[in-house]
């Protein structure tokens, strides 16, 4: 197994723009093997666009994105597909296949990439759906018949289908009830510890940041302001960061996290 801590995604000088609108300018960021990297920033600061440019859905207008040491842009389509298979992506709006039911949604990559038979794949898909916290009878529902939180869970199950090496999650806990969100945080840690994948986690959920993330990257001003362990980020002298972590919600979440971890250390 490769060493923990080595960078598996390296972004250097990334530039992204839509017409005149510059979203990223000279953005640098690493994702290290085995870490859970939280990505925060105000609405519209380009977190989802950053995610899309890492997984190769948006061609950068400048700079380089190296994944597993290679630039996706430069790879032949077969090799690129092999790299992309090592990704699991949860899109902000779920992006479930609307013509397939949930178990088929999760089974699709298992059939296509892992070569499982349909029956095997659907059985495994039901395990993943249950792991993501969906009841068994949801397996045959269509995406249109789901609640907002259920869509997130199903999308998580699909992202986890192939036990990917890098998991990209775009606001996975938005729309989940607090109990479900806490269960999600625990699941993410359990799976990361057991499977050793890395996670790029876009979130506005302060509790998730405090409970799961090893490092936090803050996007502002078209670039990464800081990317460091939470304690260090909290101490950064920047008005936005101060408002974010030391506003009423940030304080509550940090107190809750401290309260949780100090008396009984076995929580993690």
């Amino acid at each position: 197994m490769s060493e923990r801590g080595e960078a598996i995604v390296e972004i250097r000088g990334l530039v992204n723009r839509f017409g005149q609108h510059v979203v990223h300018h000279g953005l640098d960021l690493d994702i290290r093997r085995g870490e859970i990297l939280g990505v925060v920033g105000g609405s519209g600061t380009g977190k989802s666009v950053l995610l899309r440019s890492i997984v190769g859905l948006k061609r950068p207008d400048g700079g380089t994105v190296r994944v597993f040491g290679e630039e996706l842009e430069r790879l032949s389509s077969a090799r690129r597909a092999r790299v992309e298979r090592r990704f699991g992506v949860l899109f902000q709006r779920g992006a479930l296949f609307s013509s397939l039911n949930l178990q088929e949604n999760v089974a699709l990559p298992l059939i296509e990439h892992a070569g499982l038979s349909r029956a095997d794949a659907e059985r495994l898909a039901r395990v993943k759906l249950a792991l993501a916290g969906l009841p068994p009878d949801a397996a045959r529902l269509n995406p249109a018949e789901l609640s907002g939180g259920m869509i997130k869970r199903a999308a998580l199950a699909r992202a986890l289908a192939l036990d990917p090496e890098v998991l990209f999650l775009d606001e996975p806990t938005a729309g989940l009830d607090p109990i479900g969100a806490a269960a999600f945080d625990r699941l993410l840690l359990t799976l990361r510890d057991a499977l050793g994948f890395s996670v790029f986690l876009v979130t506005h959920d302060l509790d998730t940041l405090y409970s799961s993330c090893d490092r936090v990257a803050v996007i502002a001003d078209k670039r990464i302001l800081v990317a460091a362990p939470l304690a260090e980020v909290e101490g950064t002298d920047d008005p936005w960061i101060r408002d974010y972590f030391h506003g009423p919600r940030g304080r509550a979440a940090s107190q809750a996290a401290r309260h949780h971890s100090s008396p009984n250390g076995e929580e993690r």
Binding site: R86, A114, D120, P135, N142, P143, E165, L195
Partner: protein, 373 residues
């Protein structure tokens, strides 16, 4: 994790002791599943020589031992690293509730019969819905007509441009070609009777009465009814229709009326274009192949062809337009929130509207014939 040489996972059984060996991971799922299925009962398993383990391998272990045993993994495999125990426990918890959803109903002759019945019933319901929707559209139209400040001129003009103006080239080209073909046919058949001059009558009759309007309507059915269905269907899938309703806006007034009216304005114009360009195609063939000069063509047209043929063709246009537009919109509203469903309804809207156009045209032809028009 990936590029290491993987040791295929195996299940070994000796002296009543099971042991899991090698990588219990997704690539080996199929063979491991078979091995697991062969074991009848197992209380515990030796995990000392286990290589990699992922969720699929954990799911197999849960299949093998049952969720309750796996839950107590620290009892029978205390040496397993804590994170693997946690993974096994998480998968065991997830597998606790029955994972088998009820099977879907099977086939057989009875099911085929039932499917037939359902299809017939659906057809009947479809026609009822269509009539109801026509009524709804007409009543909304009436109310809107009486309240001029609710007319949506901008939307109407935009739709007229898309459905009418943009379709002129294709309609003109198509009818031109068909006109030429009809003239050739006429020339070939009538030559035997020495009556090639009647080719002019053939072309003008057929285009004024039938082909002009029919071809234009069929083209619009393929081009525009499908667009209406796809537009409204994807709005439906995206809950945009619900959003309109929730804001107290009437989707019929906002979405259907502009489309239906635009179509009713466009099709007569396109019909006229179709008639003219079809006769032009006929005239060209007459001039080139039959030595009937354009002047002669126009003379015959003026002398022999009464105006009523033109009117018979024209009156059908608004009717066809209304039907095609209404079917396109209705199918859009019937679409469910999936890409598949939008596709199915788009197909259905094209098929239905072409069918209705041809059916109505046949009925109209009978009627006009009996009336001697």
């Amino acid at each position: 994790m990936p590029d290491n040489v993987s040791r295929p996972g195996r299940l070994e059984q000796d002296a009543h002791r099971l042991s899991a060996i090698g990588d219990w991971t997704l690539p080996h799922y199929a063979s491991l599943r078979d091995a697991v299925a062969r074991v009848h009962e197992a209380e515990s398993i030796d995990l000392e020589r286990l290589g990699e383990l992922d969720t699929s391998g954990a799911a197999l272990l849960v299949d093998l031992l049952g969720p309750d045993t796996v839950r107590d993994v620290d009892r029978w495999a205390p040496n397993l690293p804590a994170e693997r125990q946690a993974l096994l426990r998480a998968v065991a918890d997830a597998s606790r509730s029955p994972l088998f959803a009820p099977p879907s109903p099977g086939g057989g002759p009875l099911a085929a019969l039932a499917a037939l019945g359902q299809t017939v019933e659906r057809l009947a319901r479809q026609q009822r819905q269509l009539i109801a929707f026509i009524g709804l559209t007409l009543s909304t139209l009436l109310v809107t007509l009486l309240t001029p400040w609710r007319w949506r001129i901008t939307s109407l003009v935009a739709h007229v441009e898309q459905t009418g103006l943009n379709a002129i080239p294709i309609v003109a080209l198509l009818t031109f070609l068909v006109g030429a073909v009809v003239a050739f046919l006429g020339a070939t058949v009538l030559r035997d009777f020495g009556a090639t001059i009647y080719t002019v009558n053939l072309v003008t009759y057929s285009f004024l009465r039938e082909f002009g309007v029919l071809l234009a309507a069929i083209l619009l059915a393929g081009r525009t009814a499908s667009a209406f269905t796809a537009q409204i269907g994807s709005m439906k899938a995206n809950e945009e229709i619900d959003a309109l309703r929730a804001q107290g806006l009437d989707p019929i007034e906002l979405l259907v009326l502009p489309r239906v009216l635009a179509m009713t304005i466009s099709l007569p114009i396109l019909t006229l274009v179709g008639m003219l360009s079809g006769m032009l195609g006929g005239a060209l063939v007459c001039a080139l192949a039959l030595d009937i000069s354009p002047t002669q063509f126009l003379n015959i047209l003026q002398r022999d062809i009464p105006l009523r043929h033109f009117l018979v063709g024209m009156v059908k246009a608004p009717l066809f337009a209304f039907l095609v537009a209404v079917i396109g919109c209705l199918e859009g509203f019937k679409a469910k929130a999936s890409a598949q469903s939008v596709g199915e309804h788009t197909t259905s809207s094209v098929v239905q509207s072409i069918f209705m156009v041809i059916l109505l045209d046949a009925l109209a032809a009978l009627y006009f014939m009996e009336m001697g028009w």
